[in-house]
């Protein structure tokens, strides 16, 4: 556990150096939150009853979707780290450490995510609450379940990202795959458009894929769209996927390690 904390501290020091970068990110999150706020309020003014929840819930959904981007980013994570290290040959120094590779990558990423949660997600949620109509969780129970669901969502995303990193070990370059993957995750995780608005087949597909663990389930619990036994079922859905993806990740790593090519030097 200590190692997770050490990596978090390191990530903090590492990122705190680039202050300009930080302010730029905060401003861009704010602009995105403002856009979704504006889109949903104008859509609701035309069709108040067409979207299955009330306007306050929907605006909260949209703003959370943007605020959580800082920690639920399918475009950056262990896979980008692994790809960079493979390209530079720096993966040597990672493997020369007495750490399980899978957990090592998790520790590094958790460090960064904790940092981003504290410095980006919380401030943008506060701004969203103060100016853009982000509401508090539907109930204290919903708040608790949301926290658990958020953690499970993070673990599911990490596991998926790690698997993409395993692809990088074989192909050595994942830029093009990465782009397709990001779009897929953003779409099926319900970051932009809630999954209950998806038409028949797409909705059914989104329901079985692991991606809805990432945005859709935690946010739906937060706004009270998912509650009671449905919320618990959703948490079970997330847990099953997390366990399955972690197992696959470990198997993939042991399979891929024998094929590892270290470039340079």
């Amino acid at each position: 556990m200590r190692i997770f904390w050490s990596f978090a501290r390191q990530a903090f020091q590492n990122t705190a150096i680039y202050r300009f970068d930080y302010w730029l990110q905060l401003v861009s999150v704010f602009l995105m939150m403002y856009s979704v706020h504006w889109i949903w309020t104008s859509l609701y003014s035309q069709h108040p009853a067409a979207f299955g929840v009330n306007v306050a819930q929907m605006v909260t959904y949209g703003i959370l979707g943007m605020a959580l981007e800082a920690i639920f980013n399918p475009g950056q994570g262990p896979q980008t780290y692994i790809a960079t290290q493979l390209k530079s040959g720096g993966i040597d120094t990672d493997l020369a450490k007495p750490l399980d590779f899978h957990l090592h990558m998790l520790a590094r990423n958790v460090g960064e995510i904790l940092f981003r949660f504290g410095t980006l997600v919380l401030p943008s949620a506060l701004i969203g609450g103060a100016f853009l109509g982000l509401q508090l969780p539907a109930s204290p129970v919903a708040a608790g379940l949301f926290a658990v669901s958020l953690l499970l969502g993070y673990l599911a995303l990490f596991a998926l990202n790690f698997l993409l990193g395993m692809v990088a070990v074989i192909t050595l370059d994942i830029r093009s795959i990465s782009w397709a993957y990001s779009s897929l995750v953003r779409f099926f995780s319900g970051q932009m458009v809630p999954l209950w608005l998806f038409p028949g087949f797409l909705g059914a597909l989104a329901n079985v894929l692991p991606f809805r663990s990432i945005y859709a389930i935690p946010i739906s619990i937060y706004i009270g769209k998912l509650n009671g036994s449905a919320a618990l079922e959703a948490l079970i859905f997330q847990s099953v996927w997390v366990v399955a993806l972690f197992i696959v990740g470990r198997l993939a790593w042991s399979g891929v390690h024998t094929r590892l090519v270290v470039q340079g030097g």
Binding site: S6, Q13, D92, P98, R259, G265
Partner: protein
Amino acid sequence: MIHVDNLVKEYKRPVRKEGLFSGIRTLLSRDFAVKRAVDGISFHIEPGELVGYIGPNGAGKSTSIKMLTGILVPTSGRIEVNGLAPHKQRKEYTRQIGVVFGQKTQLWWDVPVIDSLRLLKDIYKVSDAEFKRNMELFSDLLDLHEFQHTPVRQLSLGQRMRADLAGALIHTPRILFLDEPTIGVDVVAKERLRNFIKEINRERKVTVLLTTHDMRDIEKLCTRMMIIDHGQMIYDGSVEQIREKYGRHRTLVVQFEREIPEFSAPNAECLKSVGGKLWFRFDRLATTPSELIAYISARYPIVDLAVEEPEIEDMVRTIYGGSEARGKEA
């Protein structure tokens, strides 16, 4: 301490297609070219040895080091270090070894050296007392205190290498692998790194295996040398033996009073002549310098003379050259 038996590493590479849609066809094709980077190497290293591991670029040095450190998985063969198989028991194994790759750093680029070392302390679960003791040693021998609060990206290459050595030794490993630790470093900084490596080998009995392209590293540090080329071991023995085997030739440099034509002496050939100075190459088993000098001084008056010992570098070049020729025949 280190046992390596018949170690082999093969890389598979997709064969590049040519012509239309070459990229996509390369991606889809199942044709692979197999390259044997390491081709059946065996050796043993005893505790406390300081071994130089050399070979031309692409000979398979780094690949073997990466297998020895558990980073790469061997295609076949056996490695056992301290009773452990590096890639199978990687977690347990890497706790006992220190590794420096001269071309890359294991330290965090943007933060001060000391922060990286503290994180390594946590990764290796080093106790506070041990950390303190090691940091004192590094301040003494590497002057680490001078730049420990500087971010790694602002360090000179020599300082960075010293910081990396400190990082590799923070958990007091028993074995140290150094892959080109002196690459790109200036002469003074090199000397300092060498002294440090020698010191920890002697005082702490750390077993060291180092690769380098600088033969002075070998001369100053190692008693034993392993030479690898085309993935095969072509020499394994003492540095002294190499001198005996490949260093039989000496060069006698003679300065004459005036310019004279080139001439050869018995058992010695004249290599070159510049302004009354002649270079004679001779086999020290076939003749002695005194015989040669007697012969030459009998013919022309000598002003000054010197006998040049062959540099290890020259001998190694001879050995590489020989293996190159064999490689082409095969």
